[in-house]
Symmetry: D2
Subunit: 409 residues, 4 copies
């Protein structure tokens, strides 16, 4: 048992922290100001391209990719602390080409993409020249139950015909977004987990319509945004199917494991950023003759936050380590656990940091409401808490049921 | 002991509910659309004036005012259920001329205003022709501790000279906002609760500058908004002081009691609206072959919400009844209690309603994020939870300290 | 809406509080000492009979009975504060002949008993000369689901033949316990709620065996105790059936309503007693130079307890008032709500009072662990929290389902 | 980062689990029966000596001691999983000579004892031939604040004179208890942390009186028990002082670190045992036609317990690892964190396991109430939650205060 990060990871942590301090944190206000220059919000603030250039030059690029030929070749448990650091700033993940959903899409293409798909879509993604989106969740059905999916991806000769409506397609508003990965039902008669396909759809394919951009707690999150997208008789070549028709679920499963770890580690970063703000405020704001930190239960709030964050981080690292050592399947309970714990802890700590700030906390003078919305959304995205809890319970009961000679709990 | 509302209250409840169903709920989308017609957000959506006219004609006007010559002559416990009903729709309170901070300002003027002040400022407020704001909270200091207040209101001959910076002046962005009530330090040598004054300041007085409008969870809340306002050598006649210099605290105390009840009852309405949405969603959305209501802990969530709301309402009604029977001073613990309980319950229920909606919950397809922000802010405004808890504990310990012969707890 | 108790209730409150202060609280230690004189714990401490005599003489007797010919003729909402006061001392309810399960049994006999049953069993109960028990819950099945009941009560000519095993028969260890009310399955073919019967069984009937006395958190609760009782071919006359065969469920429903209110009001009393102890300790114990009340989050704990208790009391009073005005059926949600809320609040406050006492809190120097066990058990007895929550949710969803045109939620 | 236990630890885990399964769990009922044979509860059940013999023979003895010459030579992080396993059974720690407070006393003697002290007191403790107690906490003062301590240990020539009253001296009722380590004030003028001494006091020294045995949730915990002990002019040679007068605090600090880890790991074991019982019950008990596990929120309860336990374990392991790598001082926050987290989690899980069992849960049919009391007490012993939270907050704020140039938070 060893709680120390590998030498490799420690070195990246140090370099990344230094880069954040020197380049990213100071750029937050610049980014906001460039974005606010109002008439064209769906434009990339120039500072982002500048930061991306610096990050790439510094070798802090595609750190999420375990494949050494494309990325840093880090294991999940090595990447975890880096994702946490990036999570501290809403603008950071993109700076290092480590932002969702592009990361998940790149992983899918690395693992399942054909040579042609890699050439055309993976390469520019790896270089940060284009952006992409992922079209899975649907507005009409509870997407927590994947068998509900209504969109279709039907083979018609050497073409796929896509129909359906998707939403929460994050990043689709980005001016550089060039394609989406679309998931749809291909063969309703196939075994349950071989019915769906994942298909690469260039965004300018006829029949693809961004119906509207969805607000999150009232904010549209430019320049990425979250789209509701309709697909009407959209036709792409069968060669755009990833790994072949019917393998959508298999890919989705593989995609979600690391993606959830990344989300959760970033959520830890969100919590730590809020913790910083809360502690600083508690020491510098005075009421009734004392700093807030010395008043009433504020010390308890700080202590409870400290304990909750530290535990959530350890659980996330453990999950990452298990993915590295026994694979996604063996780490299923742990992955679901962090998916419940990390966003909840982040939401709680941000909420308390807001409270410690009083009126400033709900304004834009501190980034807390933005962090809050991100944490809150994460309790719904990638499977809501409820679905993960059900899965944790099921996995926990399994050995007892076996020992008791019961079929299943 | 009788938990039934008075005949008078029941009649108003019925009429108000009918009006809400016929006119207000259907107007919510109209209001949003008129507001969104984007180029001029700080304009009153025409539907509001139309609704105000109808409400006034229907005798559903100024219901909050206990003085029969101006309002409905209802006691606090009679008005409470009406405020709750209005709280169900973000646009409703203004429809009935019962929106903060105008209600508090009207109460102050009714109770403490001179004949001239009433003539000039109260009358148009009562008629809904103008709006007003309240300038108390300051950005530089913890306003939960009122002795921190830095703004000054100094007597200079027959003029008051005002200086300072205020924020969270709600309603100051409204095109009809004509004046603010400003609170400042007049005599630092006077006994602790006789140092401050409340002064009426026409918004167009030289030296009054709205520095910026503050976002709440990213939203500016047009057309009312929340302003940060600077006062630089602002001069108004001494006759603009309400009840005379040095009586600011006394007025503030009186102002806050009913105001808090109103806020809290509206928060109950917020919780009930979220409860409606949560229950409807839980019955109509299906996953894993069942309505959400039948899945996992969702029934518990609904039951817990039901219990929390019902208890919060009873506590608020009790506080209102005590204000009516023993006055603000005797109801001090109860008022602080509801100020902690009602917004917390509202926040919790709205959060769970969001979760029950999945992605739709954080979008604008349902009004939940708006309700969330309102509930969240209320845990800070009018005294943060922490200050009220401290006050509840102090009042609770008092009799024990007395019995034990101790000075104070 | 009026939160004041009736004049009649206020007068009883005053007299009861005076009696508690003069006679009951001082007798607690005497009772414990007499019980502890070790060799014969299943004996009634003499001080109890003395107190009962005084209480009866003072007219503080059978206050729970709404029927004026037998008791005080108080409504539920009038009796509620009296039950709360009695709940403050573990020995008090019996002093006033208001202890479970005798109260429930007396109610059943008053409402459903034949003249002969009343003469033989009700009268001595009313006079406090005998005690009784209630045999419903069974060890082998989840009694929260009443259809699980396995015990049988079969008509055989003019006799009933009873078989089965019951447990948690409270009071069965009392030396004056003379009979139990036994519930068993009579006709499995009858409609679901007409299958069971309630039968009076003298404790000395052949075939009735107290198998063991059950400890609660390690304590046997002499001299009442909780028994596990077997019934083997127990024969009693058919005239011992209450209200006739097949009416067991109907009686059980009626019995549980007021009984739950009583339990819950006593739980409020438990919480208030713990609150007293917590507050006194917080003022008199010093650490780091300050009374505990002034340290860290202790003020918050006190405030939160105050709010939770006050809300739970109001909800319980509302439930009592509804039972008085619309009956058990109309108050079903409220009764389930208090059954969840009151014991939970009591458990929480007692737990916090324990913490405030440090080591003394878990010892017998204060009665907190006894109060804790009582509160904890109540979350299981009379229907566990889970069953009541399910029922609250079901009732809450009903109107939405109706409005949406759905069958049921 | 590596979450796998060392090969050495894994081997011990395997052997210990096998021993528990073969010898300890089956002996639980035997032990209880031997203890219950009532007339002499303060006698060691013979099965305990038998088990100790077996454990020693199996080399599962004194595993807690990091010093290879006396114990297993395991690091804290290696011993942690073993302590957890022992914590699963209330009788297990003593079987392996790893029970508090003897472990702490042995550690103190190993580290600070003179050769003579080791010969006379350490040796028989190591062999499990005698037992000991620790006399630190006092009834009259809040022992969470060590400066409150009133007991005195004054040097008088070559003797120490001890006076004072201590309580919660665990193990003092054991028939083999031969000595206590007493802590008292020696020099009030010395620097704050050099005022106290730790003194070995044979239990039969004149002036040592066990005033009473303290119940915990009503139970006396024979044969160990918890004593309230008075010391009146107790005289022992100065050579009985451990490490010399004035070093009491230094020793206490060193003693508490590993002791807390042990307690917390055992608390994790308590939680896991309760989790076992809860899961088994949820699968085998049926209501409304389904196993409890499939009803309402029970799956969520199981999932939440799983997440809480897993996180608490990781945090405890991290604290142990830090003690091993950076020492007690560097691990101060983590030690306080687990001291808050582990007992709370254990209490919560046990409480939920009780609820899942219904009436059986509060009886002695399952060991849950005993586990509950142990977990509950641990939130008070060794520093109450409140003190540890304050310390966590203080340590958390330190770097912020430093960065902000503030003295202290």
């Amino acid at each position: 048992m060893n709680f120390e990060h590998s030498a490799r990871a420690r070195e990246f942590i140090e370099r990344l922290n230094a880069f954040m301090a020197e380049h990213v944190y100071p750029a937050e206000a610049v980014y906001a100001a460039q974005l606010d220059r109002g008439d064209r919000p769906w434009r990339v603030p120039p500072v982002m391209e500048e930061l991306k250039g610096r990050a790439r030059a510094a070798g802090l690029w595609n750190l999420f990719l375990p494949e050494p030929e494309h990325g840093a070749g880090l294991s999940n448990v090595e990447y975890a602390p880096l994702a946490e650091i990036m999570g501290r700033s809403p603008i950071a993940p993109e700076v290092f080409n480590c932002n969702a959903p592009d990361t998940g899409n790149m992983e899918v293409l690395v693992k399942y993409g054909s040579a042609a798909q890699k050439e055309r879509w993976l390469l520019p993604l790896l270089e940060g020249r284009i952006r992409s989106a992922f079209c899975m969740t649907e507005p009409e059905v509870a997407s927590s139950d994947a068998t509900n999916m209504r969109a279709t991806a039907v083979v018609d000769g050497d073409e796929m015909v896509l129909n359906g409506r998707k939403w929460w397609s994050t990043g689709i508003g980005h001016p550089d977004c060039r394609f989406v990965i679309f998931m749809g039902l291909t063969d309703p008669q196939a075994p349950k987990h071989q019915r769906h396909s994942m298909v690469i759809v260039p965004l300018d394919t006829p029949g693809v319509v961004i119906e509207r951009m969805l607000p999150v707690f009232g904010a549209l999150h430019p320049p990425h945004g979250h789209g509701e997208v309709s697909f009407t008789d959209v036709r792409v070549p069968v060669s755009n199917v990833i790994a072949g028709p019917g393998r959508g679920f298999e890919i989705a499963q593989g995609r979600l494991g690391p993606g959830r770890i990344h989300h959760c580690m970033r959520a830890i970063g969100v919590a730590e950023r809020a913790f910083d703000l809360m502690c600083e405020r508690s020491l510098t704001r005075t009421a009734f003759g004392k700093p807030l930190a010395a008043l009433g239960g504020n010390g308890d709030i700080i202590a409870n936050a400290r304990m909750a964050i530290d535990q959530a981080r350890l659980l996330t690292l453990k999950a990452a380590w298990m993915m590295d050592t026994v694979g996604v399947k063996g780490a299923m309970s742990e992955i679901s656990q962090i998916k419940v714990v990390a966003p909840s802890v982040a939401q709680m700590v941000v909420d308390q940091a807001i409270q410690m700030h009083g009126g400033a906390g709900v304004s834009d003078d501190v980034p807390l409401t933005e962090l809050f919305a991100n944490a809150r959304v994460l309790r719904i995205a990638d499977g809501p808490d409820e679905v993960h809890r059900a899965s944790i319970a099921k996995l926990a009961l399994k050995p007892y049921a076996a020992r008791l000679g019961l079929g299943k709990g």
